[in-house]
Amino acid sequence: MSQFSVIGKPVALIDSAEKTTGSGKYADDLSLPGMLIGKILHSPLPHARIKRIDSSRALAVEGVVCVVIGEDAPNKYGILPVGHDETALAVDKVRYVGDNIACVCAVSESVAEQALELIEVEYEPLPAYFDPEVSMAADSHLIHEHKSHNIEKEYHHVFGDPDRGFAEADHVAEARFIANEVTHAAMEPHSTLAVFQPDPQTGVNNRLTVWSSTQVPYYLQHKLSIVLEMPMSQIRVIKPLVGGGFGGKSEVIPLEIIAAVAARKAVAPVKITYTREEVFWAHRGRPRTIIDLKTGIKNDGRITAVGGKVIQDGGAYCSYGVVTILYSGALLGALYDIPNIRYDGFRVLTNKPACGAMRGHGTVNVRFAFESQLDELALKIGMDPAEIRRRNLLKPPCITVNGLRVQSYGLPECIEQVVRRSGWEKRRGKLGRGRGLGLGCSHYVSGAANSIIRSDMPHSTVNIKIDRDGGVVVYTGASEIGQGSDTMVAQIVAEGLGCKLGRVKVVAADTDLTPIDIGSYSSRVTFMNGNAALRAAEEVKRQIVFAAAKKMGCAPEDVVMRADVVTRRGGPQPEAIAAALVPKSETTVAGRVEGQILRGSVQQKRKEEGPRDWLSFEEAVVAAIDFHGALSGSGSYAPPPEARGGKHKGAGVGPSPAYSYAAQVAEVSVDEETGQVTVHKVWAAHDCGRALNPVSVEGQVIGSVWMGLGQALQEEMVWKDGLLINPGLLEYRSPSAVESPEVESIIVESIDPEGPFGAKEASEGSLAATIPAIANAIYDAVGVRMHEAPFTPERVLAALRAQNLTSRRVDMTEHVNPTAPARFREHGGSLWHKGRGPARHELDPSRTSVK
């Protein structure tokens, strides 16, 4: 029998029926009496000074209550303390097509839309920068005045002695890899409902409540307090159901601030929901990344040194950029044993929507380059790609050259599993021309060891309250966004208390009710909130055990709580009692309630003769409340100092209390006539420490692989002079049910010494392995090395032609005039292009470069 009764078993998410019946409420499903609808006016220009905004005609429309502009909320904010460079509505300047200018609040959506067209804005166009390498050369008309050469941040890290490492290498490979921009495209468009209510004592209208689709309610509360100049305690942020995030809701999105500012100005509840097109403009996805990578190996396959220069096209604001560029370098480190690393990272500003955090934050694109190059080197020395990876494994517990502490390390088993299940050794290279297998590995943090707001506060706190009804209520700040965090917390508490899962109710992510948790990002929730929940459960359990021991006349150490029954060591089996209890407890609910819980234990005591053999969970709870006077507990978690990394500049990003590991084999076929790549199957092994809920772990792994597959083959944000060409779900081609291959997920459990029951992250680590696995499989199939993702038919065909030398390499954009087209396609009810392309300044670098 398993040592656990709740965890380790597949369970439906505790909110699954809410989702399958449509009864669960997402932010846009909410409404309040007298609610107004807000609609935002966006910039049609990529870079321009705002000379004048005239909203008088819009205000005159019947049904329009107010128009909010930048001056109504001029305080700057940003998710990182070093990156406070945004205002919710543009003050003085717009920096990308889609930047927010004004918001109309009206009685209905159609009135607001109508009024939006009547707002007059006069712009003075400025030169715009769309290519990061061009942008880095700029010294005038900077996107942000204080960022010279439009460089948000650059880092130059050297660990070990890379020069010596490369000198010692027998083989060195060097190449440029490019991964184009992708976005989260979570199914739920961002939505926020904000209302100011009177202080119940003074009547002053200063209590703000915000319901928002967010992964980070506490950061939202914090940024609202900065912009609105209100104490955080007067702001209540409630996270309803959230329809997916993937990082796109892990920072404050302009509409969240705008809704609150508008609610204050309109003195009414205001709801703003983005259209799908606006979601694409809000973006914060994975930046286009240019990676110049150099790797040296010995003839035995050992890596001697890695050098990487990474340029990220960060868009117009900092967002998470500083963290992204640091992750790109830091997470070169904790997968393999690399003795010498040189890393030069540049986060560059351009006149496009800001990039931010997206699933596999910072690691994905560099991992694609690294794993591709490692394969190339393996082939150079005639070594099996799986073998070269085995030769470079870490020997944990250890600290990597760049200061990351690794304890549990399931990578070797992940590689063995996928190699075995895919028939790697027998099938690789032998499937005939046009079909092949490829291997890729990756890893990810289980939460950042250093919070983005530097302080000693715990990263997670969880409270538990149990009352005489035997119901266990857990208050957690963790944000359920579909990844199953509420279920995880309920499982851990149920396991910790030895009660059944159905007893546990989770109250989550409401800043008035739940203690601080810094949010659902960097895959931190299971590890950090899970540990906090476990500690809270243990505190409550101690109190119950103490009272139960008295009842049963045994020592507290001998009390066993399991399967909803409290017994003593050597006494009856809890499972046997639980099985016998089931029918009885259902028929006598009323009697039980009256007899035990409400009338209390005085009468009960009279009835009882001597110490008991066992107690039901409710009886034990009542005993504990009678004894202690109340039954509640708290637990919190902060990563240990040993896990917080080195001392160099930028060392704060990358360290984590534990890393997940993944290995994947992809089987693909390539149509050499069309360049079309088809993925037939992916074997994906993921080391999640311990699978608390296997069905969820598998779902997260499959979802990651699938999202990686999208980035590998077809998802790409296509830009034209700062204008997104494909801002819709049809044009941004995420794979449909027909295009999605079978994914065989394999759970590897390395049991982390610090994770809750040994668990680590499961939702992000697998994504980064998929892209190189597919790239390597394409090489195995047709012998071409793909250097630019996604591997669209055009790119594959171009690579095939270059290889065959039957015709010269076709560059699809060669000779294409890059000046703006005269007219733009109206897309999906677009509100701001009006058929006009962006006017271009005469100093615009992309214009002067055209002959």
Partner: protein
């Protein structure tokens, strides 16, 4: 625009509503009838989150005028009308158990599509399921667990385990 009176029959009940002639079915369901289970995920009928059944046929409520599906010959079923006698339908149950719903935003649309699929093809092949689901988009699951859920629902239906039987 001046409002007009229309009559919609939704989940077996008739509703008389005053709406603008340009009003979409999805907006009327969500705003006027508070049936918020049908979701808006896009603006151009590309995601399927708003799928409802009109006379048993899956339709995208975001691209239908409310006035075009009035009572006399249109019976609309939304996700709120799927649960049977207060218990989860076999599809809903299977979606929960097999991880077919993660964030849940696309789930109502998928369940309506699957309901229509199983109604006219009670024993779909894997290929049938893939094709039927290809008009709905999900960004969480990679679809694999949905396929398992649909198969489990088919099996449950066949074993007569569906609620009410």
């Amino acid at each position: 625009m001046k409002k007009e009176l229309i009559e919609l029959r939704v989940n077996g009940r008739a509703h008389e509503l005053a709406v603008e002639p340009s009003e979409l079915l999805l907006d009327v369901l969500r705003r006027e009838l508070q049936l918020t289970g049908s979701k808006r995920g896009c603006d151009d009928s590309s995601c399927g989150a708003c799928t409802v059944l009109v006379n048993g046929v899956p339709m995208l409520a975001c691209t239908m005028l409310a006035g075009s599906c009035q009572s006399e010959d249109h019976e609309i079923t939304t996700i709120e009308g799927v649960a049977e006698h207060g218990a989860l339908n076999a599809i809903q149950k299977a979606y929960g158990e097999w991880g077919g719903a993660q964030c849940g935003y696309c789930t109502p649309g998928f369940i309506m599509t699957v309901k229509a699929l199983l109604a006219h093809n009670p024993e779909p092949t894997d290929e049938d399921i893939r094709h039927a689901l290809s008009g709905n988009l999900c960004r969480c699951t990679g679809y694999t667990q949905m396929f398992q859920a649909v198969k489990a629902a088919v099996e449950a239906e066949q074993k007569g385990l569906a609620a009410g039987r």
